[in-house]
Symmetry: D2
Subunit: 349 residues, 4 copies
């Protein structure tokens, strides 16, 4: 990434929102008790609790830490979590959950990264059998790793099913803001379905900040100890909390997410009708998943940064194009033009 073209590779390729950096400069003033016993942390946690209707809010460092810490509140080592095969938790965290919690992850193949009660039910056959890890939680991502977003009705169906089945529900909200923006709802409208969820700050404009929101009051007591033991307790906590304070001010988190989503939609609209380009998933957040000729994709990658997600029949490839809070319309339009040009050039190039 030595040139100036905007990356569509990931929303974590973006820098920080200026307000986040400004908040650090404010937070640095004076001394503060460490490990979260400071006014910035207390106030920001209170704001998050209020925003989500949460019993408690904890700041941690990164998404893997947030996922493992959140799930650690729900699971004993002999208990398992049902999750999509494509979940970040299962695929992209180097086996952290298995190592740290000791639990088995029971995966389900999905066409769009979304679980349903039926798919969850397909992994519940062994409950009560001591030879089998016991499903005790369900983990979904909102929005999903495929850029799709559960509707509130879909969340309602899942959380109702979990309640009926005695399962706890965890939501990986690395892109929770994008989901709220897409659904045009509050964080609380999503959070209410979960026992624990995460709220991603980093991809939304922060530098190093994720929050874990504990909705189920019964899960609060263990949380401070689990966070510390799982190496997620910052000493100068105010600097993590302050990032969230900036995102909460004036609903910056929502503005950032709306903007990123709009840029993804703009891109999808621009390329969706280009012959040879096929949108692989509905665009319900800040990701565009598309299928195009593999050689065209490779040529495009010489100029633009984006991710390859596997081969498809007919010499084609699945790719992901991500928009961030700082992706501009001109970035999108330039990228879309190059995509269209590549597609029209034909496979032979």
């Amino acid at each position: 990434m030595t040139d100036r073209r905007k990356s569509f590779g990931s929303d974590n390729h973006a820098g920080a929102h200026p307000d986040v950096l400004r908040a650090l400069s404010v937070a640095t003033e004076g001394d503060a008790t460490s490990y979260g016993d400071d006014p910035v942390t207390r106030q920001t946690a209170a704001r998050l609790r209020e925003l989500a209707g949460a019993a408690e809010a904890y700041f941690v460092f990164n998404g893997t830490g947030a996922n493992v810490f959140g799930l650690s509140l729900m699971l004993r080592p002999f208990q398992a979590v049902v999750c999509p095969e494509s979940s970040h938790l299962y695929e992209d965290e180097c086996g952290a959950a298995e190592r740290i919690i000791g639990s088995k992850l029971l995966t389900v193949a999905t066409p769009d990264g979304k679980l349903t009660p039926e798919l969850i039910a397909s992994r519940l056959g062994d409950r009560g059998d001591e030879h089998r890890a016991q499903p005790h939680a369900v983990a979904i991502a909102q929005i999903t790793e495929f850029g799709t977003c559960y509707s509130l009705d879909e969340l309602d169906a899942i959380s109702g099913f979990c309640r009926d089945q005695g399962l706890l529900l965890f939501i990986d909200g690395a892109r929770l803001a994008n989901a709220a923006a897409h659904l045009d709802c509050g964080i609380a409208d999503i959070a209410v379905h979960a026992d624990v969820l995460t709220f991603g700050g980093t991809k939304n404009g922060a530098i190093v900040a994720e929050a874990v929101l504990v909705m189920n009051p019964a899960l609060v007591a263990e949380a401070p100890f689990q966070r510390k033991q799982l190496m997620q307790l910052a000493s100068k906590m105010r600097f993590v909390a302050a990032q969230f304070a900036a995102l909460l001010d004036g609903e910056l988190w929502l503005r950032n997410a709306r903007h990123a989503n709009a840029m993804a939609s703009r891109l999808a609209a621009a390329v969706g009708a280009v012959p040879g380009i096929e949108l692989a998933q509905p665009v319900q957040g800040n990701a565009v998943f598309a299928i195009l000729d593999s050689k065209q994709a490779a040529r495009l990658q010489e100029t633009w940064n984006f991710g390859f997600y596997g081969g498809q029949p007919g010499g084609r490839s699945l790719v992901r194009w991500m928009a961030a809070f700082d992706t501009g319309p001109a970035d999108v339009d330039a990228f879309a033009a190059d995509i269209a040009a590549a597609a029209s050039a034909g496979p032979a190039g």
Copy 2:
């Protein structure tokens, strides 16, 4: 800490050094590949490798993460680490090492927080006995949790003993800069004794940044995976690396440490001769450990922030007074004056 008195409670009560914040503002420009594959991270890691003579350098989030990640490169679960009873690793990390690595910590009581070959040898009796956890590493802190600093000769004796015994040496360098400042030596002069060591950025003026320096090349191969699985890999890594870049520029790390050390010495000099105040440890870094009347200490704590480290005979208490990079001479003098006043007021207050 609502008033304006400087905290002597911990060096992590301080805010950030302005250069660190400035570095974040620079680092945010443009996109960067995530997870450390960016120029800031690569260059800063290279500078750390050069500074320490290290095989590799890794950025992580906090001291507990650094300690556990560093030790994870050295230990299998049936192997144990010999460490002082007072070590942060044993006392203050909520059992993270035991849980995450699975290893037993074989503690040794020390008068000053420092191990010696003789003390280490006292825990090696069970090698080869399958019923006992097998000592395989030694963990020391430089400077120690008691503010004492191993001389280079002492480090040489320990590392030589470890080499002879087939033990790996880990150094918790949360305050490594203070040690180098005290010894007036380079980081490499300390690092050369270790197989793995940490280099603390947060207490030295950063906001969320620690480094793990792997000296032993045989321990590098596993490190990227261990860091990720142990939830210590930042997505927007450039913002962690940039903090260290700022500390390295113009040897800011060293200037910060020298200053903090000087402030601790100033405090010790000012109160060391006060009747009723006894320095409990030599001041060899930025910490002053003192013993004074418990009631006087409690009264002093009403105005000043500092830590209580346990009762002593005769109604006295052990306390810790820490200086930070931003502690001023006037802060020290005001505090020293209040200490002297409290001491002269007598126990009855």
Copy 3:
């Protein structure tokens, strides 16, 4: 199982072979140093080493202990093991491997419980990517959980592939004797392909005895400590070893396995041509997997003990019929007659 009909439910429904019990009565004479430092253990381990060409042999308590102990010698927590979806290790051990070793199990769907180089290769895409658990071992069962047996050529292909790919090979030999009997080869002919394998005693006529054979000398050093820490070291070890001594005497292990295999073949031959009964897998050991009408199967289960392995299209069920070392021809014939009768009675019963 209050009546006298022989169970076809599992080979662990059988009692002990009389020679095994006799061996216990011999082993009990006099005192013996505990934890394996006794003549019976030493001699029996030596015999196992010779039989398999192993670097070392260890006795443990049960199959799950043998599998986890064996794999613990091969894997760091960030490393994964590729195994069939149907493996006992993955399905039937309550997540022991994940909890105890911390590793991810990368499963592959198979039609017959057998991996191939191609199937293994399908899970190796992420090597070198720090976000993914790193495949480092392959685990197969010989014979498999579906009663199928790898030919020596198939083993050769797998072990060659593993060697080329830098993967270690683990063989779950809970029914290793049945495999050797089926292939008419020595234990060593199978063992030579593995880095570590288990040799099941319990299903072969013992009461509580499994062995772990370490073929790869580089994996021996950690083994005594791992066995102890994994709670698999017997204090009165001679009583575990003596069971294996009995199985080794006069190749009882082979005679037992040949007999059990022959009984399974006899059953398959008797029912294979019955209309409505379909053999689901080739019979290559002591298991018969069959598909029959679900109502017939349920009715048969009222009288005979056997296991249900899932529904099939058309109101049919997959079932497993296991023969043991003490299954008699008359048992098989009576069972086969009842199966045929049930099948001819028709679904309506």
Copy 4:
């Protein structure tokens, strides 16, 4: 141990009681459902529940397995267990508890292997502090590793203190029978104080059999899964249960324990007055701890098997002489005579 002298090295040097072997020969008759769903297991578990007043009883393989399984029902990884420095759990299990449960063991030095409320209280200072592992259970051994036995009053004081402090109580009963014999009380009189305790069969005359008795009904639900995941579930469980059935018949466990205790007392009486021999602990079970000249001890070890427990001032050694269920009076008398002879021979030999 090639000669015929009775070992005083450990009660696990003994073979099996004949009744235990006979019970195996009975248990082998006919088929039985595996994994404990058989009449022998059900009935024997019921007898143990009745004997101890337990909510549930589980059979496992060995003492380390029993301890770790029992404690796993009580502890989350951030919770710690207070135990004597001399406990088998801490000293002799290769760090199994730390690895498997993830918990820290908070040790207390004791003169006699026994905790008291005061000693326990000394490790409770950090409750509520997220930086410290949280004491949540207390583990004692009855009888202790020093051969001492808690009186019922002492147990009452400890269990009352634990109840008041919200701590769970675990009792390692590897030699529980010897305690009941010494106290002349029932198993239930001891068990009532515990939340979970173990009942050792192996040292009492079995070959491979320990029981875990769960007294606290709230801890039962997780137990079957923990036992399986911790690799302690026998497939041919009837053979483990049958050993306990034999020990329960006619109170064989009590007769064995009384005999072993009597033999230890006989030995202590015979050597206690020998000049140069000092009893280091009161004899309250089947162990005699004595201090004698190191050279005399070494010479004695050429003929007799016993354990060395560390050097003492003045060229003397602490040794342990254990009696077993099958130690005869003549064995004791011959050993005592040799001890006296060695002592009178003087250090020069």
